[in-house]
Assembly symmetry: C2
């Protein structure tokens, strides 16, 4: 890829994410992970891969404003339109579109090409380890969701079987189960290296919160009187 | 304290924080930590301590809307006014006001009473360990600040000497240096128990981010051509 093409795509990506430092950082990490994964494979089309990585989340804003929209679907169409309008050929634009369309977990919409599988894996890698914890917490701040829910007896739920959204609920529902869902061996091994940092953090946070409520509620009950 | 008084103060606290799940969770944790710390001390006035804990952050909204305001100063006056208007005596309201006024790090405004020192320590304890990491990340999401800054050569800064706000900057500037600033032995030992979780997380996150940029930027440079 030429530096000129890279800059064109990078600037379009930045223009789609003008107010979110976090989305931007994520895009660069996904690109860098993707190149690391691609380095272990043969016959990767880097022109497709780099474009797909840079543009994979350009539909985020639309989904954030209207949760009924899927950012992968919106982003893939925006990318196709942008590329064809800027003189890239249809076949290339179509390959990039397919990568972006299939980068989310969807049973009926799985990545097919090597580049699509690499993008999928690189994107998921950024939800593993300490980075996955950090990004999830940042998102909870943006959407004002709590760290944890309380069980009916007033103690902290560890997230298991929670219906209400919280950080612990998302950890149990999603973050804990990512590690056997990679297409490439390199991504699976990178994820495995990062896994313990997430597990350790979750258990530490749960222990800190749960012990405060467990001991504190008893102490408080002993200090309150009826009149 | 009677259950009626507790409910009155709790409801006033909740009315001051109507849109932030995180602030609310923090208040209960601070109350519970404070009771744990108080259990190791003698001559603690629990009526003052419980009220001060429940009301210590009721000035947060004012500070968030106008950063020139100090939430400890605003909150202490709101608490004093609320208590005297609800029939509590002046001396009691004044003790609560003093606790709230001195709960931030300020050289010229340090906690004096046992209850003020306990509130200070309990509030700081919630910035230690995994909880301190989680709360800081949530706040970065709320105010749209990044996880890290890049150094001039394009690699990830670990936060040392950073001017620009980021999670790593706050870790290096603030979170790393809390542990020798407690007034009570109990809080210092609880903080020390939690310390390793924060240190481990910071190092894991830095390693994950830094390695992606370091390897990825080189790989990308090798793939881009001038024309």
């Amino acid at each position: 890829m030429t530096r000129g093409t890279y800059s064109l795509l990078e600037n379009y990506m930045l223009s789609c994410m003008d107010d979110s430092a976090h989305d931007r950082e994520h895009v660069y990490r996904v690109l860098y992970y993707a190149l690391e994964i691609a380095g272990t494979l043969e016959d990767v089309d880097y022109n497709v891969l780099i474009a797909a990585c840079l543009l994979h989340d350009i539909g985020r804003k639309e989904q954030f404003e209207n949760p009924a929209l899927c950012h992968a679907a919106v982003g893939s169409e925006k990318a196709f339109t942008f590329l064809t309008e800027h003189g890239f050929d249809q076949e290339y634009a179509e390959q990039v579109r397919q990568c972006i369309r299939t980068h989310r977990y969807r049973k009926n919409n799985q990545p097919q090409s090597p580049e699509a599988k690499i993008l999928f894996d690189a994107d998921k890698l950024d939800v593993t380890g300490a980075m996955g914890i950090a990004r999830t917490l940042i998102y909870k701040g943006i959407v004002s969701e709590p760290l944890y829910s309380l069980l009916p007896d007033g103690i902290v739920s560890d997230g298991t079987n929670d219906d209400a959204p919280s950080f612990f609920q998302e950890y149990k529902y999603k973050l804990e189960h990512l590690y056997d869902r990679f297409y490439t061996e390199k991504a699976a091994s990178l994820a495995e290296e990062r896994r313990q940092a997430a597990v350790t953090f979750y258990h530490s946070l749960y222990r800190e919160a749960a012990s405060a409520y467990r001991d504190g509620r008893d102490a408080l009950a002993g200090l309150l009187s009826d009149s």
